[in-house]
Symmetry: C2
Amino acid sequence: MADGVGVVETETAVVFDGDRPLVLDSGAALARVEVAYETYGELAAAGDNAIFVCHALSGDAHAAGFHPGADRPGWWDNMIGPGRPLDTDRYFVICANVLGGCKGTTGPATADPATGRPYGLGFPLLAVRDLVTVHRALLERLGVGRLLAAIGGSLGGMQALQWALDHPGDLGGALVIAASGRLSAQNIAFSAVAREAIMRDPDFAGGDYYGRDRRPDAGLALARMIGHITYLSEESMRAKFGRRIQDAPEPRYGFDVDFEVESYLHYQGQSFVERFDANTYLYLSRTMDYFDPFADPVAVQRQVAAGDTRYLVLSFNSDWRYSTDHAREIAAELRLAGAPVTFREISAPHGHDSFLMPNPDYHRTVAAFVDRLASEA
Amino acid sequence: MADGVGVVETETAVVFDGDRPLVLDSGAALARVEVAYETYGELAAAGDNAIFVCHALSGDAHAAGFHPGADRPGWWDNMIGPGRPLDTDRYFVICANVLGGCKGTTGPATADPATGRPYGLGFPLLAVRDLVTVHRALLERLGVGRLLAAIGGSLGGMQALQWALDHPGDLGGALVIAASGRLSAQNIAFSAVAREAIMRDPDFAGGDYYGRDRRPDAGLALARMIGHITYLSEESMRAKFGRRIQDAPEPRYGFDVDFEVESYLHYQGQSFVERFDANTYLYLSRTMDYFDPFADPVAVQRQVAAGDTRYLVLSFNSDWRYSTDHAREIAAELRLAGAPVTFREISAPHGHDSFLMPNPDYHRTVAAFVDRLASEA
């Protein structure tokens, strides 16, 4: 495989400000919205080769390449780069931290211009379509018109789906991967317990923990640990850890970390705390709970008829967070509304996290779909 | 169906004391062990009609009938009573709170005779065979010899299994229901996160919270909520709650309880805190993590050959906490060791909790197996 996109840096742009506030789906407004983003490859003179990458709950704008001095690349480096499925020799790829995020885009940790203090839980609740609104404002700033495609996994797939429905004509294709069009009771339950872990942490302080000595690290770590179990398949956990004891031939018999899987979860929880904001976890997970783009089938039919977006809906057979049933339901709803949909279940062992992993069949499927969009454009 | 066993009361017996301490599998000792238990039906003159019911993590000795003034019966009332699968017109049924429990049997909340203060985390770690040792001591006190059967679901099934293996000749039959002979990495992971929720609660105070103003209620409620999601099937949650909003036609859009499934989990967490001790949760869940009765296949072969116990291994097709794979593995290990095993997967929608629910096929299977044991006795 060719080298990746090389060294990149995250840039920022103010996309709403002053006399142009962002009015949200709820009616609430944000006076100022800044967005952190990265781009890879070059925009063609015709402007017809842009692909927008939408990230998942814990993602950020740094999808590919290396930040200066970093030893690990962006979160989707295996997907984006020269010769990779989102081929930066051919396509101009953009990724932005979502609204409500904590990696450079305006979110609950941002200072409210009205008070000068972080929003905390004063930040308005967001709909997936609000995240899309901000992505579109960024594209306007970058001078990018119609996109060849929007693509994303999990919450990223939800953004691509909502984008295609709300803005007919914006997208040549929408690649909706490992996503759900309507969270199940179990999905909501897991997210609810993760949020409870954060909100019951005494250091949460009603979301107003910025600038204090203590943050709700214990709660956020727990939320991540709960989430992480649901991102992996039982099979991949068995293969990766089994019942092996951490750094010892025999169990220590106690309540400290003893099994390897415990050590792994601890590490996941701890490293998440160091890079993520608890309020963002609350906001984005709640946004997913309420996501329901097919609530009004008549409206969806109208939205689909007004556009020409092709859909690729992908699931992974070992994903039990958003199982293939969720993907089938998305595909069925879209087809019912008259949209051209390709649906595929990919065989991959890594559960929900499979969308982040390199997998020849998966990568071939994405590459072929995007290339077809390009050849038709 | 005939009436149940009527009004019952929990009794207690001191089964280890003074010059007869309980020596545990780990080598640690407990100077005094008291056991809470209930019995239903009458012991036959020949003493050959006794069935021991082993309870699961959150269970207790009150398996059937009503405590005076109570409006809800014991946790397995649908299984135990006149004309029910464990027919109290024919069988003498005993259930006891397990060692390490918090409902009358010696556990971490009990005062250590050496200090006069509750053990807390000074309580020794327990193996499943220690729980069995205490059950056997209780039977000795009650004048019950060989049992017609031991039966239990989840941790209860583990006790029945360990009992049959460790004490050949004790049991005519072992009914091992919704159990595992070896927790998977995912099983351990869920339990580990539940324990983390308790231990990271500032009110946990290293397990020494007895007699204080505050107990680790937030952590214990979270542990229960996490556990509860894994006890239900995705399908049963969908059927029971779907995406319905609690007490309102429209979502409220916020972080408070909004979906019915959130309200349900809250209630489960809160009611658990009122009836259960956090340290017991730690001890019993850790006991399950370490459970590994088939670790030495040669020993198992010897154990099986020395006894004449018939095994009934049951699973439920919607149980993903201890799926049918776990039951099949138990059955396979037992057969490999030469034991007579009947294995059945029951079709039931309620996930792991199915073992607690009335289900004609399930109840018929248990009744037929027990009746056969009785006719052969």
